[in-house]
């Protein structure tokens, strides 16, 4: 195997490992040995002739496979794709380190594509687009070098450079054609797979920061934070300010001291219920729509459909079989695929079909139940804060006082921190720091203690808008828990006591790299969230393009002339670059042949041609000169051909 091909394969496998890395299927610590073995493969491959070396690799892969089978049997199918991806990555490194006369590298190329496909199911992040943009030229270059290797020709250094250059160009062409076809090819964006009903994966139960439909303080252990994109929210209409940061996934009512659970029909009368209007549409609030957004949930395993508290209308494909719950949350019964739906937001609304007087708080016992969860110190604190208010203070004032107290006097620490509180006893005891679930629990129970109906809500809180404020990106690390309180007029409102809940503020005003990343993320979100309406817009834009171009040309003839001149210059440069591989002497020789209207016959040498031709003396002199020059370049040049 030639060295350029070997290095191209190393690059291909490194890109594959990059794909695996962005899915966060394995920690970097696990990836490092694979990266090391990949980089060292040109050196390690020499041991391939030893049985012990090959046995080591085969046993290693079998061992890894056994581990993954164990993982599957112990954790179920939740991580099937991630495990498969890891195995594929390991196989890539194995193939790379054993490719040679015995092991053809074909499988390495197919496996690389398979890794790209599987990764597309696990990551919608802009990092995927970067890896894909990297993968395409590397794949093309590697295929070209493999073709040379298969054709039995050695890729000399000069030729290898030429191959790489052509490969990069071809990669760009393929990418362009791919994007054009992707944008224009008609297809059913809402097609339900043949096996989609039976081919589902269960939600994971991992310890990564992410949305959780329940809260359980008994779960302990290391928790990782991830930048993985889980949701994109594209503003279709309205102002960015009208699109809330808080996107609800679950509302939790019952607390037993360690665990929060959703409520049943506890607040059926107080909630703003979702009502089905058609198979694809649900409504719950009346009033003017302030904004409309299109939501794409990238977490394939999620069954929750996230929506803000003031969502008034939801349009989703009927195949999702969306159900609305009394706590105003939504769930789809079609897991195992990305979901895309539209949400209308009405911030200034009244409950749909319900604008009556405030209902007696006494009927909302569940929402006022403190239970055994709030320790004495917490109860004392709630009582003290409530007592400190002037008589007749509004509920909003009470809520704000308690929120502000927690916000200002307690510190935020990420989940899993050793210094943070693990439950409310710690929180109100000696560890005044914790993560959002602790803050939300503390505030909810304190409010209930003070007679304010409240519940904990889990979901996402993100302010990561792109530059144009069109796309709001939601990442796994944006998972959050906060509080919703019910005011005396039966309206729920959001209260957040967690000090560092607004992570987006940390990125505001960031440098150009962050801005570029946000721009790329916005662009990529259009690819990921591509649908029939976007396609129609692209089609309409392309249809109107010739007219726009013509109008622009007519409007500014000078610019048109300059543009045409630039185009001609570009073509000339391209033609010259194309012919650069032919020596000047050969080009002059061919030009002379064209000028005299003669051509070499197959197998004829320039000297034989000279002997054959009957030319005028002047022509013969010229042809002899260029022939001699051509021969000089052909046979006496030091240039490697």
């Amino acid at each position: 195997m030639t060295r350029p091909l070997r290095f191209a394969m190393v690059a291909l496998v490194l890109v594959n490992l990059g794909f695996v890395h962005i899915t966060e299927a394995a920690r970097l610590l696990w990836m490092l040995p694979l990266i090391g073995l990949t980089v060292a493969s040109p050196w390690l491959v020499r041991f391939g002739r030893h049985l012990a070396y090959r046995s080591f690799w085969n046993l290693g892969v079998m061992g890894a496979f056994a581990l993954l089978v164990h993982h599957f049997t112990s954790r179920g199918s939740a991580y099937l794709l991630e495990d498969g991806l890891l195995l594929a990555a390991l196989c890539q490194v194995h193939l790379l380190n054993n490719a040679g006369a015995r092991q053809k590298p074909d499988l390495l190329f197919f496996n690389s594509f398979l890794i790209a496909v599987v990764t597309s199911f696990l990551s919608l992040d802009v990092a995927y687009s970067l890896m894909f943009a990297l993968y395409v030229p590397v794949l093309v270059v590697a295929l070209q070098l493999l073709a040379l290797h298969r054709a039995g020709v050695a890729a000399e250094p000069g030729l290898a450079v030429r191959v790489v250059r052509q490969g990069l160009l071809r990669g760009a062409v393929v990418l362009g054609v791919t994007l054009a076809a992707f944008a224009l090819m008609p297809r059913d964006f809402r097609r339900k797979g043949v096996l989609a009903g039976s081919w589902t994966l269960k939600p994971p139960g991992g310890m990564e920061v992410g949305f959780n439909p329940t809260i359980d303080f008994r779960r302990k252990g290391r928790v990782t934070s991830s930048d993985r994109v889980v949701m994109r929210i594209r503003r279709v209409s309205g102002n960015p300010a009208d699109v809330p940061s808080y996107w609800r996934g679950a509302a939790l009512v019952h607390f037993d001291g360690q665990q929060w659970r959703p409520g049943g029909r506890h607040d059926a009368r107080s909630s703003e219920l979702w009502r089905r209007r058609s198979r694809a549409e649900m409504r719950r609030l009346a009033g003017r729509v302030d904004a409309e957004v299109e939501v794409t949930i990238a977490d394939r395993r999620s069954t929750s459909l996230f929506a803000p508290l003031r969502a008034s209308r939801l349009r989703a494909p009927s195949v999702y079989a969306v159900r609305g719950y009394p706590d105003a949350t939504l769930r789809a019964t079609l897991p195992g695929q990305y979901k895309s739906y539209r949400v209308a937001i009405a911030n200034r609304v009244r409950p749909f079909g319900r604008s009556g007087p405030a209902r007696p708080v006494g009927r909302l016992r569940t929402l006022l139940d403190v239970g055994p969860g709030l320790p004495r110190a917490g109860r004392d604190l709630a009582d003290r804060l409530a007592a400190g208010l002037e008589p007749g203070a509004s509920q909003h004032r009470l809520v704000e006082t308690m929120r502000a107290h927690l916000f200002q006097n307690y510190r935020y620490l990420p989940p899993g921190s050793d210094d943070g509180a693990h439950d409310l006893r710690d929180f109100f005891g000696g560890k005044p720091a914790g993560h959002c679930e602790i803050f939300a629990t503390a505030l909810t129970l304190m409010l209930r203690r003070a007679g304010v109906p409240a519940r904990v809500v889990t979901g996402y809180c993100s302010t990561e808008w792109d530059d144009e404020q069109t796309v709001l990106t939601v990442r796994a690390r944006h998972a959050h828990a906060w509080v919703e309180a019910l005011d005396p007029k039966a309206r729920w409102y959001t209260v957040d006591a967690t000090p560092a809940a607004d992570e987006g503020a940390m990125t505001a005003g960031a440098g150009w790299i962050e801005r570029a990343r946000a721009w790329a993320a916005g662009l990529w979100s259009r690819v990921v969230g591509f649908n029939s309406s976007t396609q129609a817009k692209v089609g309409a834009w392309l249809g109107a393009l010739p007219g726009r171009v013509l109008r622009a040309l007519r409007a500014s003839p000078l610019t048109t002339a300059l543009g045409l001149a630039a185009l001609v210059a570009l073509l000339v440069v391209a033609r010259r670059a194309r012919r650069r591989g032919i020596p000047a002497a050969t080009r002059r020789y061919r030009a002379a042949l064209r000028r005299f209207g003669v051509a070499l016959r197959p197998g004829e040498t320039p000297r034989m041609l000279l002997a054959r031709l009957q030319l005028a003396d002047s022509q013969r002199t010229v042809l002899e000169a260029v022939t001699a020059e051509h021969e000089q370049g052909r046979y006496a040049s030091a240039r490697v051909r």
């Binding site: 597309s120 894909f132 070209q144 020709v153 797979g193 990305y338 690819v527 194309r578």
Partner: protein
């Protein structure tokens, strides 16, 4: 002449892989990224057809020679490739021989007419039909092979491996002497070797018996030329040895530009300068097969003419 495009072995695998992915795509619900990847694979395939065709368009080639080779030697294909008006990568002239043997002469990068050569592992004696001759290219991605048919010799002749002078049967020299036949007159006497004597006149059997080099002197030698009778009614093993020795004799005669007359069951002809060409004789040797004992005898000749394989029995 139009070129033809076919998938390579890698291309067939890639096609199967693409079909499999398409099935999975339709089995799962629609996903934009999966679709993007499928479109990418499709675009790669379509562009590959265009690129592979373009790399061959305008290329001319010819098979310069495909010489007969002795068994055990490497057949060599010599060809000339003219890349036309722009540089080309990974072109090759290939001959497909019967028995799925492939003889290819590749060139990595051609920007002007280039002479190329390719060889094949050694073959056993026989006449190998050239099934097809093409100029082809798998550039750039190796998934497809574009090819165009060329004119080429119809067969590759692999004649018997010539026996060396130290052959256990007495050697080529003795055979050459014996095969002198009537054209050299009658054998006169045996005498000891003297400097200046031709090697072909060494009588190896007598040399072996006496232990010193002995040459056979001829009386009334009447000009150059060899005459051999090949009786094909023989067992395979002596028959092959006879062919091997005859092959050596042919090579010697060709080098010395002397004619050689061969008599066998279905042929009686003289080859060499002014007669039938040597390659024809080499083809006869390459294609010769032993006959059963009941087959007709070869044509009658003078008793002094070398008879194979009788002479080496």
């Amino acid at each position: 002449m139009s070129s033809r495009i076919r998938p390579t072995a890698l291309g067939v695998k890639a096609l199967a892989f693409f079909v499999l992915l398409t099935v999975v795509f339709f089995a799962a619900s629609y996903s934009n990224l999966f679709f993007l990847l499928l479109v990418f694979a499709g675009a790669l395939a379509v562009l590959n057809i265009a690129w592979t065709s373009a790399n061959l368009r305008g290329v001319t080639a010819e098979v310069v020679s495909l010489e007969p080779v002795p068994a055990g030697a490497t057949p060599v294909l010599q060809a000339r490739i003219d890349p036309g008006h722009r540089p080309r990568v990974a072109l090759e002239v290939e001959l497909e021989l019967e028995g799925k043997r492939r003889l290819a002469a590749p060139v990595a990068y051609a920007h002007e007419p280039a002479d190329v050569a390719g060889c094949l592992p050694a073959l056993s004696r026989g006449v190998y039909r050239v099934v097809a001759a093409r100029v082809s290219s798998v550039w750039p991605l190796g998934l497809l092979r574009a090819s165009r048919v060329l004119e080429a010799p119809g067969e590759l002749v692999v004649y018997p491996e010539p026996a060396g002078a130290s052959d256990a049967t007495g050697g080529i020299g003795a055979l050459a002497g014996d095969a002198g036949g009537e054209t050299r007159g009658q054998p006169a006497e045996l005498r000891e070797f003297r400097p200046g004597d031709e090697l072909r006149n060494v009588h190896w059997r007598a040399t072996a018996r006496r232990g010193v080099p002995v040459v056979l002197e001829w009386e009334g030698a009447g000009g150059s030329g060899h005459e051999v009778v090949l009786d094909r009614r023989a067992e395979p093993e002596p028959f092959e040895r006879a062919l091997s020795l005859l092959s050596a004799l042919v090579v010697a005669a060709r080098d010395e530009k002397e004619p050689l007359t061969l008599h066998t069951q279905d042929l009686s002809a003289t080859f060499g300068p002014g007669h039938r060409p040597w390659p024809e004789l080499l083809r006869v040797l390459a294609a010769a097969q032993p006959l059963p004992a009941a087959a007709p005898a070869p044509p009658l000749t003078s008793p002094s003419v070398l008879r194979l394989p009788e002479a080496i029995a």
